[in-house]
Symmetry: C2
Subunit: 259 residues, 2 copies
């Protein structure tokens, strides 16, 4: 493929890289700043930024460039193409209402989970987690479920590569301990996380299966640890959660048939 | 700019176009299907799809290509760069809890509003509206607020171009009627939509101002029309909504100073 037109690969790779240096810390960038943050040369950064302006994906205010809402069309091409995104939402809403806790769905992207959707519960703590949010997989219940269903070679690669940073005193930082926790989660059909990413938050997650048995996403319920004990999470919340994940999985099977 | 390297513009434009043909109806595509839907030639579609695979933004399953969650990084570069996205959420959540109705924030992208975030109320009707959802501006309260604050030339262009499709019997389909509704919304500081996009849904929206006075987004509350009369929407919901929009605007001013 690179034989045909290496410029295409090259310019796409650079454009996607440059797009991702815009962030909460860097909502607008000069050409020099964009070049520095992306590791591109100044002329390349300039060319891509001007191209994005001409395509309506960025706008310039004097020397500063920022992204436009048109950029969201790119990210949502993925979401709207997910056969299970819309299907899952009524079930997640029902679970959130039943337990009065927030219910989320995420999938794995590299070493991170990425939130596909989140239904806040009535008692939900203030959080900025929402569609598109990313968290390290190893410290979250949804991440554990998704890692637990990786193929063995992919899991080995993950455990060999990942840096298990202690985000709280409860974070699992030993790869072999994580491996056994994941095996247990896979056998049980759910995973929990007790303050491992953030103290005071306890959650449980269950896998969503596509037709054919591969795990495509995880759903979770998340609760205030001061209010919901681990025992209550497992005895009250997990059965309802697992049932919801199963219903979503069944419907995905039905949806997949139509495509 | 095109003098320097027209290929860059060209390949980016085509790649962004191809990315957007993936959808709920077309979650996976063959090269031929992608070419047909995007209007690109088959060799170009093939080259871009293979490039996206090599960059991790797409994956191939036999002859069918689909997007990966990595694509969401692109859309969320925009969201996370918005200085008001995180700022607004606690205030929106408070409003949703106070009124027990859903509260959303959107911005304008061309002739559509695009949802930045949505906090469902406890009594919210089942809906698939969420971050990234798009609706025609003229039939929604947030769209009216955003159109109402366009510069006069941009509004004239919008009204000359837009096709005001009747989505319900209440949709405003006369451009001059819409113009006067927008002028009124601007003067009052809020807009309403009474079943104009979907029968049975009533909403009100207010503008979010950046420092300098430009309108960057709108926030709304949306209610079941059978439960909340237009009079109650205006007398009870609008004051709380306008206050929330003002608080968010004030905080954006403060945030902007830091950048």
């Amino acid at each position: 493929m690179s034989r045909e037109n290496p410029d295409v690969i090259d310019s796409l790779e650079k454009a996607f890289r440059l797009l991702q240096v815009f962030s909460h810390e860097h909502p607008s960038l000069t050409i020099s700043e964009a070049a520095e943050l992306s590791g591109l040369t100044r002329p390349t950064a300039r060319r891509i930024l001007l191209t994005m302006v001409s395509l309506g994906f960025a706008e310039a205010d004097g020397k500063r460039f920022s992204l436009t809402p048109k950029v969201m069309r790119l990210g949502f091409a993925y979401l709207s193409a997910l056969p299970y995104w819309e299907t899952a939402q009524p079930h997640m809403r029902r679970l959130a209402a039943e337990l009065n806790e927030s219910c989320s769905m995420a999938t794995l992207d590299g070493n991170e989970i990425v939130y596909l959707t989140r239904v806040p519960g009535n008692r939900s703590m203030v959080t900025t987690l929402n569609t598109g949010s990313r968290l390290p997989a190893y410290a979250t219940s949804m991440g554990k479920v998704l890692l637990a269903h990786l193929k063995p070679a992919a899991l080995d690669r993950y455990l060999a590569e990942v840096e298990l940073v202690p985000l709280t005193p409860s974070t699992i930082t030993d790869p072999e301990e994580l491996r056994s926790v994941l095996a247990e989660a896979r056998a049980r059909g759910y995973a929990t996380a007790d303050g491992e990413r953030e103290e005071g938050i306890r959650s449980a997650a269950a896998p969503v299966f596509a037709r054919g048995g591969s795990v495509v996403a995880a759903v979770n319920v998340s609760a205030n640890a001061a209010r919901v004990s681990h025992e209550r999470l497992v005895s009250e919340y997990v059965p309802a959660l697992v049932e919801t994940a199963r219903t979503i999985s069944d419907e995905i099977g039905a949806v997949t048939v139509m495509h």
